[in-house]
Symmetry: C2
């Protein structure tokens, strides 16, 4: 198996977009490759972080030519220059290619290590190729093994469930908050952290977002681009604060965005409220917790969780790497053994003619010292 890979490791988002394939394009490309007659199998994986073509050449087309031809097919299909591909791609073959497939499928090659969105994307890519009959023994064996391995990591480790970014941690807090419809007010929504949190929450079920900004241009743009999201001027924040279940403040302002006095004057309804202060210096007056029903988490709280999660994630990454090692080695074994199968009957016959006790001597005569050492180590395991 070969892999041609254009990924976030080398290529910027602009380059990656040049090699981005829609589902229809993927199918069209797979048909094109298979019709070529020079390839046995092909799977194409296209996500926002990578475009990868996994393929096995037909026996007559093995070697470097098969890679060159695939490069040509890719660039012609995407109407880009070959030089662009050659500058930003990586090629793997044999063991390295198998290793890469496992690494990608298990989220170890992702921007956020261990994320499991890629697993679904690999499954889709494989299924697409399978349905078009673009896979045979090799890619079936390896993709199925990689997917099984990734599923095990997903089930048996906490890798994909251990966020370390403050934005994700804060968003998770919102998801966990009780109530049917959750009204969220994000103060400083056009800032860096505000934008991350908005994107984590936007479009999720039962969440209504109101955002503030001091910039009228931004307010207009966001109101136009994001449906079902209300953008207000920073000055109007207290008018919308009573209805909010969760208030997140993430400005870079040197002043409080919420003071206890003004908040207590604005609150008219009695309910549980969560305030998240993700700013340094602090945005929210600590005193507000004296108000009935008001809970406050500040950035220190999330930083501590982030640190704990980071440690946990490190441990889980090691465990996942061990699982990959094991599954990967088994997959390699299958591939090695498969190539041996045609000879098996003859070798079985040859072995039947040798007394088992003599077999070791017969093999010894044919082995060099390294082979002998491995062989003896192995037969010892029969005990």
């Amino acid at each position: 198996m070969y892999v041609i890979s254009i990924s976030h490791k080398i290529a910027t988002v602009e380059i990656r977009e040049r090699f981005s394939f829609s589902k229809e394009e993927q199918e069209e490309f797979l048909r094109l490759v298979m019709d070529q007659g020079h390839y046995e199998e092909c799977v194409i994986l296209s996500t926002c972080n990578r475009c990868e073509v996994y393929f096995t050449p037909s026996p007559a087309n093995a070697g470097f030519e098969a890679v060159q031809e695939m490069e040509k097919l890719l660039t012609e299909f995407k109407k880009t220059e070959l030089s662009l591909l050659l500058k930003y791609f990586l090629v793997y073959n044999e063991e390295k290619a198998i290793q890469h497939l496992f690494s990608v499928t298990c989220g170890m090659d992702s921007m956020v290590i261990g994320e499991d969105e890629i697993l679904g994307q690999v499954k889709d890519a494989y299924t697409r190729a399978l349905n078009l009959k673009a896979t045979k023994y090799m890619l079936n064996t390896l993709f199925q093994a990689a997917i099984t391995c990734a599923k095990r990591i997903k089930t048996d480790t906490r890798l994909s469930k251990t966020p370390v970014s403050i934005g994700t941690l804060a968003a998770n807090e919102v998801f966990r908050f009780g109530g049917d419809i959750k009204r969220v007010l994000i103060i400083g929504m056009t800032g860096k952290m505000g934008t991350i949190i908005m994107k984590n929450l936007y479009g999720k079920e039962n969440i209504q977002i109101t955002g503030t900004s001091r910039n009228h241009n931004s307010i207009e743009i966001i109101n136009r681009e994001y449906r079902n999201l209300r953008m207000i001027d920073f000055k109007e924040r207290y008018e919308y604060i009573d209805e909010a279940d969760i208030v997140i403040s993430a400005t870079t302002s040197p002043h409080y965005t919420i003071t206890c006095k003004e908040l207590s004057e604005s609150i008219r309804t009695g309910k549980e409220r969560l305030f998240l202060d993700l700013s340094v210096p602090l945005d929210i007056d600590r005193e507000i917790t004296k108000i009935n029903g008001v809970n406050l988490h500040d950035i220190d709280f999330y930083q501590q969780i982030s640190r704990q999660n980071f440690e946990l994630k490190e441990q889980e990454t090691i465990r996942a790497a061990q699982m990959i090692e094991e599954h990967l080695d088994n997959a390699k074994k299958e591939v090695i053994f498969h190539s041996f199968l045609p000879d098996l009957p003859d070798i079985g016959n040859a072995m039947e003619k040798i007394r088992p006790a003599n077999l070791i001597y017969e093999l010894k005569d044919r082995a060099n010292s390294e082979e002998l050492s491995v062989m003896l180590q192995l037969v010892r395991k029969l005990l």
Copy 2:
């Protein structure tokens, strides 16, 4: 097996002399080591270029302590400081030690690559230890294998018979020259080349040497130290030239040491004579070949042979390295297999219970991908 080695690779001749063992000392040291009770086997090799102790510790004494104790025994025996040994020795173990033994025995670790004097020295060292019952399975197997390998290289390659030094080539020319007693006159015998040639010829059967020097001190010293060698003043050279069968001139003089005119005046006897001019600029007038019976070889002649021999020696070194590779690997195999022998009956029994055709599957289940790959490669050789 371990080796502690003090050799020309690191240690100067002064250091090597501190660790030089006479035959009696070697025997005494072997007895001392074996009486210690901490060693199974020991061979000591002492030549002017190296002092090496090959040993295997007793099972209870395996590991680094066995080396440390041997260092102590060595330095105490030779009444030198441990720090001196530690500064100038090399330690090898396992495969590296076996490799070193082969390399030494086959002359690949010698100052002049491929020389075979070391083979006799290794044989003697081994026989000495064998006679004192200081060798068992391991050193017997490895020394015998190394000696067999060196003998094969000696017989099957021209490595030890292909001199590349001008001094050796010139001396060989003298040995080949016809006649019962060969009288050699060396003009400039106390120079660098003159000394080498004298040492190559001195003490050899049927060779009488006369040497010249301009230095009266040197003449006196050599006349005192070398019996059966006549030292004369440079000015007297023509008085002794008639009796000489072979005249070698190797001075750094800017003038001819032998001119045609003076030579023809000095020669009274009719016989075949060989003149070797090993100097740059030339020492001997080219015209002398007009004199009846006079043959002349100059340094260009020998430099050409030296270059040819150097090329031949390079080829033969490659062939020898291949022979060593082969013998070395077989020796390693023997050692590996020997350690496996105690388990062989049980493993044989276990194998008897498995159908040969199933054996491959049973081994596959117990192998990792690398072991599987080696195993399949090996059983394929049964075809």
